[in-house]
Amino acid sequence: MAHPSILVTVLALLALAGRAAPDETTYYVGHHAKYVNITFESEADIESIVGTTNKATGEIKADLEKGSGSVSLVVPVASMKTGIDMRDEHLRSEMWLNAAKFPTITFTSKKVEKGEGNRLKVTGDFSMHGATKEVTVNVEWKELPEEALKKAKFPEGKWLKFSTQFEVKLSDFGVKIPEFVVGKVNDAWTVKMAIFAGTSKPEPEKK
């Protein structure tokens, strides 16, 4: 029979496993649309398409010194705009991202490592259109100085800016480019993200 002290230790470790590590700070995403800037670009022979969204919610738990933590982000497909209403409708349709069936694009990290300087190497599951693929992105972070926070009237707390850029291939997520738009839409899209995340919890959205 196991010694009672070992059982206590095991139970204590199991209880701690679900929480953020003691040195990790939780930064919340989604306080206001102006703090989220995500663009997605397709550069094809005939046309360049640029889309954006300012809606993302999630949490970034990080110990920036150690380079550990976790990331979870959710972007609603319905919030993505490309500048032409009809094209946005197509984007949400069954032919493309099928927003009715798959209303969100999500990223959930599996591993966070320290990169060079103010960089983190984040590996995780990127899910879109009902498919999931593991991706690794380099994220740069910068801490906003107290003075700048006051001047720019940010909400209370500590604030960081996270920036990253990566590529998403539509074909990896089961999205097929229809024949009639070949040459106008690229399979590979460049995604750029600049997100301010703060330690204060965002207020729930008013309905």
């Binding site: 102006k34 703090y35 800037n37 670009e41 490309t82 500048g83 906003l144 700048a148 720019a152 750029k192």
Partner: protein, 149 residues
Amino acid sequence: MSRIRDRIAKVALILGVAGSLAPPVAAALLSAASGRTVILVATPNSPDVVEANRALWTPGEPVAPLYGTPVGEPMRILFADPTRIIVPKEDPSLTLYTVDKTKAENPLQERTMWFAVRMTLYASGALLAAALLHYLWRRLRGPQAAVTE
């Protein structure tokens, strides 16, 4: 019947020549008169976010991201709205042009105009070729027709 064909060939020749010359000249003039090379900045940042970005910026870093997300390479646009142009104090050699995609804003790109010009040139070239083939055919068939008559 041949008269009708001749008339059609004449119209095709005129349209072909006009279509091959006028659009490129007009496009070049339009480009010179109202074209401007800019870096598009999608979803411009609000003034307080620009302020926060400035606090994080150090000389040598890219300037355009302070104001929004720069997209693509510098490009020429037509009929630029002066209120959307930003010449950043951090690098006055840059010209940024803000477009808010959430408000369905799409500036007219010069390459779109040149794409239309190219399409017109293809169509004009086809008309011109058809007209020239017709005249060639007439010329070759002319003496033969005279012999048979």
